[in-house]
């Protein structure tokens, strides 16, 4: 069990979090829905992210080699069955989760605001929109050029852009919330959001919009990559329980590689370079199991963060294998796809058998609401919530 000191508060935390949590603990069994409303946060959309990417992976793996655009085809019955099953399952989960989260927005809006203030939680506000974009893309019966696709794309992409403007603007203008203070590996999720939007736009053949989103994402990825590698403030920007989000390090270049592939039409050198970078970072993280040891002690929602980066990498490797045929690329693709399926299945099983652990009463995103102190100024107090 790790014990982490609570952060020196710069402002008193909104008391509602603590009281709400403590109020519901004893009445857990009777007030399930209010409990879920309280405990749920945007990080739960990791589940839908994983499922959505998995659906997309299967869609791409199972379609025969054609041009890069998703088109209506008449797949064999077997393939379409699998795809439909996976896709509908993801859709159902996403709808349920979105409903719950919108209920929370209505009834517990202050908690949503608190999430927005949290340096890790704010990035997960991108997650619902990314999930919806993915569901849209991986739908087996929708063509990108269809009107409904376009409309839905706009519906989901606008919030992404709004969030971009808000969050990226804060990085370089706002007093306390500047980048070196808030940067953490989960910030790469915002980059992923932009790149997913860019990819979907490229599928719609909206060239300019997709390049716009791509460049936005890449520029901020560059800044973020450098900042994260520098680790100015050491390892205490991220609670140990959230270490699985380190996997986002190689998720971002993978999705960048896919986005560039969609924009340029073929898996050319920049895409390859981004893919190789994410492979290297993946290898680098795999070789460091000690980094994740603390997070692996107990199952929690952060474990879902393992799944979708691997799926992303598998997707990129599938595209790579289309371009560079050969034993090595084929082996990489098979390995990564197999790994992503395994991880997803394991996570699904764990979730099914431990539903209570999904709603812990000490989630770091919910409990810590104060902005972590900027580096250089204070002692080495950790900024994480107490975990028991």
């Amino acid at each position: 069990m790790e014990i982490q000191t609570s952060p020196p508060e710069h402002h008193p935390p909104p008391p509602i979090n603590q009281t709400v949590v403590s109020k519901f603990v004893p009445k857990r069994t009777k007030n399930l829905v209010p409990l879920i409303l309280t405990r749920i946060h945007a990080g739960y959309f990791r589940i839908t992210l994983s499922l959505g990417w998995q659906a997309l992976l299967w869609k791409i793996l199972l379609q025969p080699i054609q041009d890069s655009k998703i088109a209506i085809r008449a797949p064999e019955l077997f393939y379409s069955t699998i795809l439909t099953i996976i896709w509908s399952f993801s859709l159902v989960i996403l709808i349920v989760l979105s409903l719950l989260y919108s209920l929370k927005c209505i009834f517990r809006f202050s908690m949503i605001k608190a999430e927005f203030m949290h340096h890790v939680g704010v990035n997960y506000l991108f997650a619902p929109w990314i999930s919806w974009l993915l569901i849209l893309e991986s739908a087996p019966f929708v063509t990108p050029k269809h009107v409904s696709f376009v409309i839905l794309w706009w519906i989901f992409a606008i919030p992404v852009i709004i969030l971009d403007v808000k969050i990226y603007g804060q990085w370089f203008t706002k007093g306390k919330r500047f980048l070196t203070a808030v940067a953490n590996p989960a910030s790469q999720l915002s980059v992923v959001g932009n790149l997913v939007g860019a990819r979907a736009a490229a599928k719609m053949e909206w060239r300019e919009v997709s390049v716009f989103l791509f460049s936005l994402g890449m520029v901020h990825y560059l800044v973020l990559f450098v900042t994260l590698y520098q680790r100015l403030s050491g390892g205490d920007r991220l609670p140990a329980m959230l270490r699985p989000v380190f996997f986002l390090f190689f998720a971002a270049p993978s999705v960048a590689s896919l986005a560039w592939y969609s924009i340029s039409g073929s898996f050319d050198t920049p895409s390859k370079m981004l893919f190789f970078l994410s492979l290297f970072l993946f290898a680098s993280l795999i070789c460091r199991p000690a980094l994740f040891r603390k997070a692996m002690r107990r199952f929690n929602i952060a474990w879902w963060a393992y799944s979708y980066p691997i799926t992303l990498l598998a997707l990129a490797s599938a595209r790579y294998e289309e371009e560079v045929k050969g034993g090595v690329s084929h082996a990489i693709k098979l390995l990564l796809s197999g790994l992503s399926v395994l991880v997803l299945l394991a996570l699904l099983l764990l979730t099914a058998f431990n539903p209570k652990l999904l709603l812990p009463d000490n989630d770091p995103i919910l409990l810590t609401t104060a902005l972590p102190p900027p580096p250089h100024s204070s002692n080495s107090n950790s900024t994480t919530a107490p975990l028991c």
Partner: protein, 624 residues
């Protein structure tokens, strides 16, 4: 001090200044001699060498005496340094109290002197094995003092003992603390001895030295100068064994010379430089020389790995030296790049995979350290030598592309480019938390030029032509080169070190990139640039060669004692209060003060410390 009371065999010729000491030594030695285990050991050992058993103990005593004398006749610091090394196998045998005493320098000043003397004898008695087979080193001063102490009768026979006693101080740096040497000597035909319990010891006493220790204890652009307040584990008045003094930065010589070979090869074979009429033989000669150098340096360093693995580990943990672990592999890549055309036109592709594998694994480790935060994160340890970790990627990409491989070079180019961006930004920022950036200009800054110039050549090979990407990288390299060259008069007053060779290959790399560029854009300007840069590179290498020869043969200090790896694992207690932290890290100020301030008002080194910090500490501690 149970031994000081016994006074069995007073020695007439013992120096007057240490009567009680000698008694203590003698008594304990006899006691040790009487214990069956030691007795057997010494007997066996002596039989193998033909010495009389009794005289062995005498030798031990006298050796300890001599040791003691030489220790005490010097400064306290030396005295304490000799015995403050944690992981000696000797100390496992000594009672814990005594071992603790070794760590605290000032406690040896006081009444613990006899204790340490007794420990000396333990040292002497139980580590005969350790000493016996270690490398004899000429210790002129020790012999002189042993001579003057008046034990002339047995002096010739005593010499090996004294030398071997001296060598124990290096045991902590030897592989398995000297066990390997004993094993090897055993294999060479000496009698097998029973393993002593003391040798089981060691443990993790030499565990990884945290990077903070290096920053605290060392200073200078290459982090090889000891701060005034620090101490080292090995004697700083003696010349250490050669292997201990041989740093990994010696591979810089191989880098410098082999890159010259590549330059002359390119000069000879490129169309834009045909007007110079350079003969390919220059490349051949240089290449053969560099092969010889690589073999020699690698062999010596391999010996160091075998015999002084502990020292190699410490070099690995040194924040600057760790980058030089890439140097051997880069040197091999340079050799492959500089192969004279008369030898072979193309090399086999598998060679590339073999050469890149160690670089790949080293990278995984080092870049992962940067990324995962912790004590070796980049904002803390970034220094220009980190370029050596990055350049390997580009050199490998260049070699692979010249061999015709496609995917592998792009892989390493991508990884190198991403990490180079990070490093470049970090170094340009010169963060206040960055401990290792030299405040003044130093030849290490030339490493900035290395990565862009090699990257431009690699990209040109990958793409097939010197396109815009290559040109951008090349111009960046050129700009950095000129901005350093115009400041050349600021490169003054630095102590020469072997690592300077590693800083010459960027100049050569820039010259080669210029040659490539001039073959694409051929006009008078580029040709002049080519000639100028090649001249500068050649002159620099020649000047460096001359300096190296001067240092090697005339000044004889080419391999000084490698202070950087011999820092102690913990700060010396007396100086902890005066521990001067870098400005800007206030959290460590507070932390240090809370941890290390002691109420001992006396301090030997009060005079040498920066006043501002001291006054604060003094007033705070005197208030206690």
């Amino acid at each position: 001090m149970e031994n000081s009371d016994e006074n069995q065999s007073p020695r007439e010729d013992s120096p007057e200044e240490l009567p009680s000491l000698i008694r203590a030594i003698t008594a304990h030695e006899v006691a040790g001699f009487d214990s069956p285990k030691d007795h057997d050991d010494t007997k066996v050992q002596l039989q193998s060498t033909g010495f009389h058993p009794l005289s062995a103990s005498i030798f031990g005593i006298e050796a300890a005496e001599a040791e003691d004398q030489t220790g005490l006749s010097k400064s306290q610091r030396t005295h304490s340094v000799s015995f403050s090394m944690p992981p000696s196998p000797i100390e496992a045998h000594i009672q814990n109290t005594k071992r603790v005493l070794f760590r605290d320098t000032e406690t040896i000043l006081g009444s613990s002197l006899p204790n340490s003397a007794a420990s000396y004898t333990n040292f002497g008695a139980q580590t005969k094995q350790a000493r016996f087979y270690s490398q004899p080193m000429p210790k002129g001063s020790v012999l002189n003092q042993a001579t003057t102490s008046g034990k002339s009768a047995n002096l010739p026979l005593r010499n090996p003992r004294i030398e071997k006693l001296r060598d124990n101080r290096y045991d902590s740096f030897k592989t398995w603390s000297g066990k390997l040497e004993r094993q090897i000597s055993n294999l060479r035909g000496k009698r097998q001895e029973p393993e002593q319990g003391s040798q089981a010891k060691q443990p993790a006493q030499m565990e990884s030295v945290p990077v903070d220790r290096y920053f605290d204890a060392l200073e200078g652009p290459e982090l090889d100068t000891l701060r005034a307040s620090e101490e080292i584990l090995l004697p700083d008045d003696k010349q250490w064994p050669f292997l201990l003094r041989f740093p990994i930065s010696s591979f810089g010589i191989c880098l410098g010379v082999s890159s010259q070979a590549i330059m002359w090869k390119t000069l000879a074979s490129s169309e834009s430089t045909k007007f110079l009429h350079v003969s390919p033989d220059v490349n051949l000669v240089l290449w053969l020389i560099s092969i010889a150098l690589v073999v020699i340096v690698a062999a010596v360093y391999a010996l160091k790995v075998i015999f002084y693995f502990e020292a190699v580990r410490r070099e690995y943990y040194h924040p600057i030296r760790v980058n030089f672990f890439f140097a051997p592999w880069i040197a091999l890549l340079f050799l492959a790049l500089g192969v004279p055309p008369s030898f072979s036109k193309t090399l086999h592709a598998s060679l590339w995979y073999i050469l890149m594998t160690p670089i790949f694994f080293l990278e995984l480790k080092i870049y992962g350290q940067w990324m995962s935060g912790g004590q070796r994160r980049l904002s803390k340890v970034a220094n220009p030598s980190n370029h050596l970790s990055i350049v390997g990627n580009f050199v490998g990409a260049l070699l692979g592309a010249s061999m015709g491989l496609k995917e592998g070079p792009v892989f390493f180019f991508a990884v190198g480019l991403a990490h180079y961006t990070v490093l470049f930004v970090t170094l340009y920022q010169r963060l206040p938390t960055n401990e290792t950036l030299p405040k003044e200009l130093h030849p290490v800054f030339f490493l900035f030029v290395a990565a862009p110039s090699v990257a431009s050549m690699a990209w040109a090979r990958i793409q097939g032509s010197f396109d815009y990407g290559s040109r951008i990288a090349y111009f960046i390299a050129l700009f950095l080169y000129f901005s350093l060259a115009v400041r050349v008069n600021f490169f003054r007053g630095f102590r020469f070190s072997l690592a300077w060779w590693a800083y010459t290959f960027p100049m050569t790399g820039a010259a080669i990139a210029t040659i490539r560029y001039s073959s694409v854009v051929t006009n008078l300007v580029t040709k002049i640039l080519t000639v100028v840069l090649c001249l500068v590179a050649t002159l620099t290498v020649t000047a460096l060669l001359v300096t190296t020869i001067i240092h090697a043969f005339i000044l004889r200090d080419l391999f000084p004692n490698d202070i950087g790896i011999a820092i102690s694992d913990r700060k010396p207690k007396t100086t902890r209060r005066w521990y001067h932290r870098r400005s800007g890290s206030s959290e460590s100020n507070v932390e240090n003060y809370l941890k290390y301030s002691n109420s001992n008002g006396k301090d030997i080194e009060a005079s040498v410390c920066p006043p501002s910090y001291n006054n604060q500490e003094l007033s705070a501690s005197s208030a206690k």
